[in-house]
Amino acid sequence: MVSSYLVLVWAWTRAAMAYRASFALMVLLGSVITATDVAVILVIFANTTSLAGFSRDEALFLYGVAGVAFSLCDMFVSNLDRISQHIKAGTFDAMLIRPVSPWIQMATDRFMPSRIGRVLQAAVVLGYALAVLDLDPGRLWMLPVMIVSGIVIFASLWTLAAAAQFVLTDAPEVTNAFTYGSGQLTQYPFSAYGRDLVRGVTYVLPLAFVNWQPGLYVLDRADPFGTPGFMRFLGPAAAVVLALLAALAWRQGLRHYRSTGS
């Protein structure tokens, strides 16, 4: 499975590398676009010393963790959202006659190595936050845990969105609102949002477990919404549950795939 994934990534990378100048430009452009997200945070803190109870560097920490997880998924999984085009064009059939999971073929479809720019940008922000914040070293074990859970949560969201295309076919924009919207939402401390929204993205769509809940633990902060302390550690469990749901939805989607005429 892993080897098939790498083989396909390699093939698409070679195809992309045929245009070297465009590759360099795309890396640069990707970094610049995401850098504007950070600029927004910096502008906010030029006018105030705290955002919903969090300092600039704490906000950058939360941004960095979610950004690394999200941009890695954007690079390695998000091509799943191209499935509606393949279903409509009938080219999804071709993926089903090969001895490789169609999920892997979709995730690598037109793999864009230039998206590495966004990953690097998020990693730099996270590195900066870790360097300037005076964090308890005893709590840093949570950092890799939250990044991995975050990757699994975002990857599951993309899989659910792709599975929905088997039924909706024509609505990639609707599902993009969920996937890219989730990426946007996790850029700020959740204390900036209303209580009902935070409840929704804790108990329905478990985005709170990407960076908010475990982040509170790393930053040694109490939850302004007053959730109990054990919830800081539920990230991996939430990720596993969501991944199982996504896998189930994907399987069901495949079984109900209708193909096109002829």
């Binding site: 093939a11 009938g90 059939d93 006659i97 090969r98 079984r255 005429g261």
Partner: protein, 254 residues
């Protein structure tokens, strides 16, 4: 090699159930060369897609090489080659040679066996002149030869072809027919072919199956098929009569 037992596939279209294929039963033994005929919308492609595991049957059972295609799709893919005449299964932006290398890696064919097969296929299908060309720049005839080679690089026991000669000129058609005949005769590869070109059937298929409105309307040798007709009728006449004799499609309300 292939066994269908009362297999059916229906689709819900605006609250109505349309049976693309219903109660279809047949067997194809290893080494056969079978032509699968039927008018547009008769259920040919639906049958093919059930055989490959692309579509899950809504009733009955399908077995290919002893496997249930929709549940063991990837295992079956290692033993079957599939060619769709209407659209390529190759990677549009990659040179043909890179597509073949990708197939070698995905099907986990070892390097030497791949080299030998690719050399043989390059020679018999005359792929040499356009191996370095991206698939999107190939002519239809070249692309079809490329697709055929791609479907055979892992040496499948079964080759399924959905309208492989559609849109090809007479020379390209003759080349592909000759290649398929030799593949079946020399390697013993089982071939199932759908086509609207009766020349394909006359020159290649010992056995003919005719599907109409999702049901088998004829199954026998080409001679049997011709024997049903008055002397002097051509295969076109016979097939036309069978196509037009069909009953309207059954649409059961939900």
């Amino acid at each position: 090699m292939i066994e269908l037992d009362r297999a059916g596939r229906s689709f819900k279209v605006r609250r109505e159930t349309v049976h693309a294929v219903r109660d279809l039963s047949f067997r194809i033994e290893a080494g056969e060369f079978v032509g699968y005929l039927g008018p547009n919308g008769a259920g040919k492609s639906t049958t093919i897609k059930m055989l490959c595991g692309i579509l899950t049957p809504t009733s009955g059972t399908v077995r290919v090489a002893g496997l249930d295609p929709s549940r063991r799709r990837t295992a079956l893919a290692r033993r079957t080659g599939v060619v769709f005449g209407q659209r390529t299964t190759l990677w549009w932006d990659l040179p043909l040679r890179d597509s073949f290398e990708l197939i070698r890696l995905l099907y986990k064919v070892d390097r030497r066996a791949h080299r030998e097969r690719l050399d043989a296929l390059t020679e018999t299908l005359d792929l040499g002149p356009f191996l370095r060309t991206p698939v999107r720049q190939l002519s239809l005839g070249q692309r079809m030869r490329g697709d055929l080679a791609a479907a055979l690089l892992h040496a499948p026991d079964l080759l399924v072809l959905d309208e492989p000669t559609i849109g090809l000129d007479v020379v390209s058609k003759a080349g592909i027919r000759d290649f398929l005949r030799r593949l079946n005769a020399e390697r013993g590869t089982t071939v199932l072919l759908t086509t609207h070109d009766l020349g394909d059937i006359e020159r290649l298929c010992r056995r003919v199956m005719l599907i109409d409105h999702g049901r088998l309307a004829f199954d026998g040798t080409l001679e049997d098929l011709m024997a049903t007709a008055p002397a002097g009728e051509t295969i076109e006449d016979v097939v036309t009569r069978l196509y037009t004799a069909g009953v309207p499609p059954e649409r059961a309300p939900r």
